[in-house]
C-alpha cells in the first residue's frame, strides 16, 4: 500500500530546476571558455557564463534565506546511520529487488548518501567554485585588494577542478534519479512535489 507525501515545496522545486538549468548552462559555457570546444566563442561564452553566475548567486540568496527560515537546512545535516546500508543497497540490493533501506519522510527527504553527497557539494565543490569564480571575475582588482600575489593559473586550476567535480556529480545525480521505485518516480516528485512512499 503506497501513500503520497508532499516533500518538495513550490519554491524548492523552482530553486532546483532553475539551478539545474543554470548549472548546465554554466558548464556548457565553462568548457567553451576552457577551450574544449567552441559553441559561443570565448567572448560571448565569458559574458554568458558571468551573467549565469550572477543569476545563480541571486538564486542562492533566496535559497539560503528559504532554507533558514523554513528550517529545511536541517535536511543536510550528515548522519552515519544507514550509510552502510545505503551503499550495500546500491551495490547489491538494488539488483535483487531488495527493499530500500531508507524510509522517506517530509523531515528526512534525503537518504543518508544523498545528505553526504549534497553536503559535499554545498561545502566543498560549491565554495571552491564560488571563491575561484569570484576571484576570476575580479582578477583586475586583486592588486587593489591586497591579493597581488595570487596566481591566475592557480585560481583557474581550482575553478576547473570544481567544474569537473560538478560535472561528475551531475552525471551521478541524474542517474540516481532513476533509482526510485519506478525510473521516473523521483523526477516526477521533483516536478510535482509529491513522492510515493511504501
Amino acid at each position: 500500500m503506497s501513500e503520497r507525501i508532499y516533500v518538495f515545496k513550490r519554491f524548492e522545486r523552482f530553486w532546483h530546476w532553475s539551478q539545474a538549468a543554470l548549472i548546465i548552462f554554466l558548464m556548457l559555457t565553462a568548457f567553451d571558455i576552457h577551450g574544449t570546444y567552441t559553441i559561443f566563442g570565448f567572448e560571448k561564452a565569458v559574458a554568458y557564463h558571468t551573467t549565469a553566475a550572477w543569476t545563480l548567486i541571486g538564486l542562492w540568496v533566496f535559497a539560503i534565506f528559504w532554507h533558514f527560515t523554513t528550517g529545511e537546512w536541517k535536511q543536510y545535516i550528515p548522519t552515519t546511520e544507514k550509510v552502510v546500508a545505503m551503499m550495500k543497497y546500491y551495490l547489491v540490493g538494488i539488483f535483487k529487488d531488495a527493499p530500500h533501506p531508507f524510509k522517506l519522510t517530509t523531515l528526512r527527504k534525503h537518504n543518508p548518501l544523498q545528505r553526504l553527497a549534497y553536503l559535499f557539494i554545498l561545502l566543498c565543490v560549491g565554495p571552491l567554485l564560488w571563491v575561484t569564480g569570484g576571484l576570476y571575475l575580479f582578477y583586475d582588482k586583486w592588486a587593489a585588494w591586497g591579493l597581488g600575489g595570487l596566481s591566475l593559473e592557480w585560481v583557474a586550476l581550482g575553478h576547473t577542478i570544481g567544474a569537473f567535480m560538478m560535472l561528475a556529480f551531475l552525471i551521478a545525480h541524474v542517474y540516481l534519479t532513476t533509482a526510485g521505485h519506478t525510473p521516473l518516480a523521483h523526477i516526477k516528485a521533483m516536478i510535482t512535489g509529491w513522492e510515493e512512499v511504501d
Binding site: 577551450g35 570565448f42 582578477y139 567544474a163 569537473f164 567535480m165
Partner: protein, 537 residues
C-alpha cells in the same frame, strides 16, 4: 574644423580691413589659393630673402637662417641630422650611419643614394661636414607644396635644372623651382615625414609595414587618429617635437609607459608619442577588465590587429642569396606577381610581400641590442637576429608587443664571421646594382666601412624585429578576445601568462575527464546491470 577655418578667415578679414587701405582691402577680398595652414602668422612669400632664384639647397638654408638663426644648431643635435645614436643602456653606437639591416643592408659606400633621405645637403661620402649650418635641409620637412624632391644619387641635393641621370641613360630628372617651394614653407606634415618614413627599405611600405603612403590621407579604418576626414593627426601630433628634436625612438622605444597622461605643467621626461601619454593607463571605461590586460599587453597588440592595411603591401622576406641572375641576353631580370609587385630582381634577389599582415608577438622591454659589423657571429641553423629585442614576462618592464619580423638572407663573411656591408647603389663599376658582382661590391663596401673582409662571401639567414605602433584601428575593429583566447591563438608562443582557453593543466584536465568518464561508465554499467537483473526477477 570648418567653423574654425571660417572664424579664422573672418578674423583675418577684419584685421585686414583695419590695417589696410581700400586698395589693399580689394586685394584681400580676392582670396589666394591657400597652401599655407592658417596656424602660421607668417607668409613666407612676402619675405624678400625668398623672392629670388635658388640654384641649390644650401642657398635656401642660408636664407632661412637669416631669420631662424638657431634652427640649424637645433637640427645639428638630432638623430635626423647625425644618423648617429649612442644607446645609453647598451652603450652601442647606433644610428643609420652605423647599423645594418636585412633590407638594403647599410649606408656605408652608398651615401649618395641613401642620403636623399638625410635632412642635409651633400653627404656623398664619409667626409661630410656635419658642422656646416647651410648643409641643413629645411625644406625636406617644411615643404608644403609636395614638389620638393631629393632623388637618390644626388647626396641629398634637390635637382634644380633638368639633368640626365644616370648620365648617358637618356632619363631626365626635371629641375624643381626652390624659390616657389621656399616661399610656401610651413609645418611638417604627413607628406614630409612620409617622403622618407613611408618609403623606408627603398619603397612604399617596404620596411615598416605600419607606415606607408596610405597614411598620407588615411581612412578611419587605416588609422583612427590620422583619419583625414576625422581627427586628421599629423605625425607631429604624437611625435611632439621640441627644438627640432622629434620624440619617439626606434633605438630606445618606450615599451611600457606607466607615467600616465602627460598633462601640461607636469614635470617628466616621458615619451609624448606613447598611447598612454594621451589615453592614460586605464582607458577602458566600459570593460574595466581590459585595463588589467593593459598592464601586460601593449595597446598596439589589440588595437592594431593587422599592419599594411592601407592597400600597400609590405615586404616580409628578402633573399639576397638569389640575386645576380641574368636573362639569356645577359640583362637584369625583374619578376612581378599578379598584382604587379616585384618578387625578384637581379639586383636584390627574391622577395615576398603581403598586405593585412598579422603581427608576431613578443615580450618587449624596450631594450634593443643590435648585431653590428664589428660583432662576430656564427652561422647556424638559427636565424641571426639583426636586432635582439629584450624582454621577459618576469622583468616588470616588458609588455606583449606586436612585431613585424622581417626575415632574410644576406651576405656574410664566413672567415671573419661578420656581416657584410656591400656597395649596392652607385653608378660606378663596383656598385652591385649595376654590375651584379659581389666581390667588387663587397670590397668597396667593406673598405668604406673600415672593416676587414676575407675575400669569401657566404649568405646568412637573419631576422629583424620592428615593433608595430602605427595604423591604430578604430576601437570597433580592435582585436576580439578569441584571437588570443584560443588553443592556437595569436599568443601561442607567449610564456609567463595564464591565458584562459589557450592554457590548461594537462594533469587536471586528464584527471578531470577521467573522473567524468568513470562516473559515466559507472552509471551506465550500474544501469545496465539493473535492467538485466530486473528481467530475471
Amino acid at each position: 574644423m570648418k567653423t574654425a577655418i571660417t572664424h579664422a578667415a573672418l578674423l583675418l578679414c577684419c584685421a585686414g580691413w583695419l590695417a589696410a587701405t581700400g586698395h589693399a582691402l580689394a586685394e584681400e577680398a580676392k582670396p589666394e589659393p591657400k597652401p599655407l595652414k592658417l596656424t602660421t602668422t607668417a607668409d613666407h612669400a612676402k619675405f624678400k630673402q625668398l623672392q629670388k632664384t635658388f640654384d641649390s639647397g644650401p642657398e635656401v638654408t642660408k636664407a632661412c637662417l637669416e631669420c631662424h638663426t638657431e634652427a640649424a644648431g637645433q637640427i645639428h643635435r638630432t638623430k635626423h641630422w647625425k644618423w648617429e645614436f649612442l644607446n645609453p643602456e647598451t652603450k652601442q653606437t647606433l644610428g643609420k650611419k652605423t647599423v645594418l639591416n636585412n633590407f638594403c643592408i647599410s649606408i656605408a659606400s652608398n651615401y649618395a643614394s641613401c642620403t636623399s633621405c638625410h635632412v642635409g645637403y651633400g653627404w656623398k661620402d664619409a667626409n661630410f661636414d656635419f658642422a656646416k649650418q647651410e648643409n641643413v635641409d629645411c625644406l625636406a620637412c617644411h615643404d608644403t607644396t609636395g614638389n620638393y624632391k631629393k632623388p637618390p644619387g644626388f647626396a641629398g641635393n634637390p635637382v634644380t635644372k633638368d639633368t640626365e641621370y644616370p648620365p648617358g641613360s637618356g632619363k631626365i630628372i626635371k629641375g624643381i623651382d626652390l624659390s616657389k617651394i621656399a616661399q610656401k614653407v610651413g609645418k611638417s606634415s604627413r607628406d614630409t615625414c612620409g617622403a622618407c618614413h613611408f618609403n623606408g627599405g627603398g619603397g612604399d611600405g617596404v620596411k615598416h609595414g605600419d607606415m606607408d603612403s596610405s597614411l598620407a590621407a588615411p581612412t578611419k579604418d587605416v588609422d583612427v587618429h590620422m583619419d583625414a576626414e576625422g581627427l586628421d593627426f599629423t605625425c607631429g601630433t604624437c611625435h611632439k617635437t621640441s627644438s627640432h628634436d622629434v620624440a619617439g625612438s626606434r633605438y630606445t622605444p618606450t615599451a611600457k609607459d606607466d607615467k600616465g597622461v602627460q598633462v601640461r605643467g607636469k614635470a617628466g621626461s616621458g615619451n609624448p608619442a606613447t598611447c598612454v601619454a594621451c589615453h592614460d593607463n586605464a582607458p577602458h571605461k566600459k570593460e574595466a577588465r581590459l585595463n588589467h590586460h593593459a598592464t601586460k599587453i601593449a595597446c598596439q597588440t589589440c588595437h592594431i590587429p593587422t599592419y599594411a592595411r592601407g592597400g600597400v603591401a609590405t615586404k616580409l622576406t628578402w633573399d639576397w642569396s638569389t640575386a645576380g641572375k641574368r636573362d639569356k641576353d645577359g640583362k637584369h631580370i625583374v619578376l612581378k606577381d599578379a598584382k604587379g609587385r616585384i618578387t625578384y630582381e637581379s639586383r636584390k634577389g627574391d622577395f615576398t610581400l603581403a598586405e593585412n599582415v598579422k603581427p608576431e608577438y613578443a615580450w618587449f622591454n624596450g631594450n634593443v641590442q643590435y648585431t653590428l659589423l664589428t660583432d662576430k657571429i656564427e652561422k647556424t641553423e638559427q636565424r641571426t637576429p639583426i636586432n635582439r629585442m629584450g624582454g621577459s614576462p618576469a622583468d616588470g618592464k616588458s609588455m606583449i608587443w606586436p612585431m613585424k619580423v622581417f626575415r632574410g638572407s644576406q651576405p656574410y663573411d664566413p672567415v671573419n664571421k661578420t656581416l657584410i656591408t656591400p656597395h649596392t647603389a652607385g653608378n660606378d663599376d663596383t656598385g652591385y646594382w649595376k654590375n651584379l658582382d659581389w666581390d667588387k661590391a663587397i670590397a668597396t663596401g667593406m673598405k668604406d666601412s673600415g672593416a676587414p673582409w676575407s675575400g669569401k662571401v657566404d649568405f646568412i639567414k637573419t631576422e629583424m624585429s620592428w615593433p608595430i605602433t602605427h595604423m591604430v584601428a578604430p576601437k570597433e575593429k580592435a582585436m576580439g578576445c578569441v584571437e588570443c583566447h584560443a588553443r592556437d591563438g595569436r599568443l601561442t608562443g607567449i610564456q609567463g601568462v595564464y591565458l584562459p582557453a589557450r592554457d590548461n593543466n594537462k594533469l587536471v584536465d586528464t584527471a578531470g575527464w577521467a573522473i567524468v568518464l568513470l562516473t559515466l561508465l559507472g552509471v551506465i554499467g550500474h544501469g545496465a546491470l539493473r535492467i538485466v537483473t530486473a528481467r530475471k526477477h
